[in-house]
Symmetry: C2
């Protein structure tokens, strides 16, 4: 489990043994049960998440309806906007499967950053990379039809379609569950 974390970090910076031990000794690993709400709308927590195993999601409750907009799986990092802006959260964060997460709070991160300037560099690289990737995702979403989005997901993250409830997938694709059902039927028909 700890290897996953160190492998991830090594994609951005190289660490000495001392540095590795310092990070592991913080012991941020946490087991979380499916269904757990990690952050509520309006809440002002300072926690960031890194998924070692399992799946978490961002969702909203709009007019009583749950709208899931993002999934985070193995090796994905999520720092809520409420942490960045020190403001109440617009969204919920929930646990889709039993998961093992790394949970860190921003005070602690600031401390690590000042102790290990390298860590600051990693955070910059990581968030720049995520920003660029998310830009591309957003663009592809805008320029695709719901059916294309589903086909695209089928290519890029086939696992998600298996491990996540359909109604969560639907809002992730920007449509209603009924439309996703119909759309899948349509595609299936074409294939056969």
């Amino acid at each position: 489990m700890k290897d996953i974390l160190l492998d991830f970090i090594s994609k951005y910076i190289s660490l000495t043994e001392d540095e590795k031990n310092a990070i592991l000794s913080l012991d941020l690993f946490r087991s979380v049960k499916k269904g757990t709400v990690l952050l509520k709308e309006g809440q002002n927590s300072k926690d960031s998440f890194f998924v070692l195993k399992g799946c978490i999601r961002i969702y909203y409750i709009i007019e009583g309806e749950e709208k899931t907009t993002a999934f985070y799986t193995e090796m994905d990092a999520l720092t809520p906007h409420s942490v960045i802006n020190n403001a109440p959260s617009d969204y919920f964060i929930g646990c889709v499967e039993d998961s093992i997460l790394l949970v860190s709070n921003s005070d602690m991160e600031a401390e690590i950053n000042s102790k290990f300037p390298k860590f600051e560099l990693m955070c910059r690289k990581l968030s720049e990379e995520l920003l660029a990737k998310q830009r591309i995702d957003f663009d592809k979403f805008k320029t695709s039809s719901p059916e294309q989005r589903y086909q695209n997901l089928l290519q890029s993250r086939p696992d998600l379609i298996q491990r996540v409830p359909q109604h969560q997938l639907a809002s992730f694709l920007g449509i209603k569950p009924q439309s996703l059902s119909r759309l899948r039927g349509r595609i299936h028909e074409k294939r056969s």
Copy 2:
């Protein structure tokens, strides 16, 4: 003009007079004519952009059709994914109006970052903030209908609707120009 830049930087870090002069002496300011293409698909430039005045956009050419997905106006920063990943660009960057930009290349930024570690901190804060903001934008896009997106834009960036051609706005909203026309007519009717 230089004040705009320094004001922007001061939102993230504080600079000494020496540091301010060092940055200004790089003289990265560039005037760009409307219609200029700053980055082409497939190209591998190392240039990042900061808009001091005017407007630039990200667009794609998909099946011969131009699809605009993002606009950057005063005080907006844009580092293309091609710079981050050192890979050919998926998109074009074009100039919507005559603009004054700050154009920096990534080698130079690396140099500044090592000279002034503060700058590294700024870049981290900035990209974290932009990532969080873009997440919210993406989520709102997913959970809204085209009409709601237009109404939302009318609230949040009313200037854009004036200064940008309708067909670019349409793809920015994820719809066809004809649909935007119709949708506007629909709304106008309701108001009267």
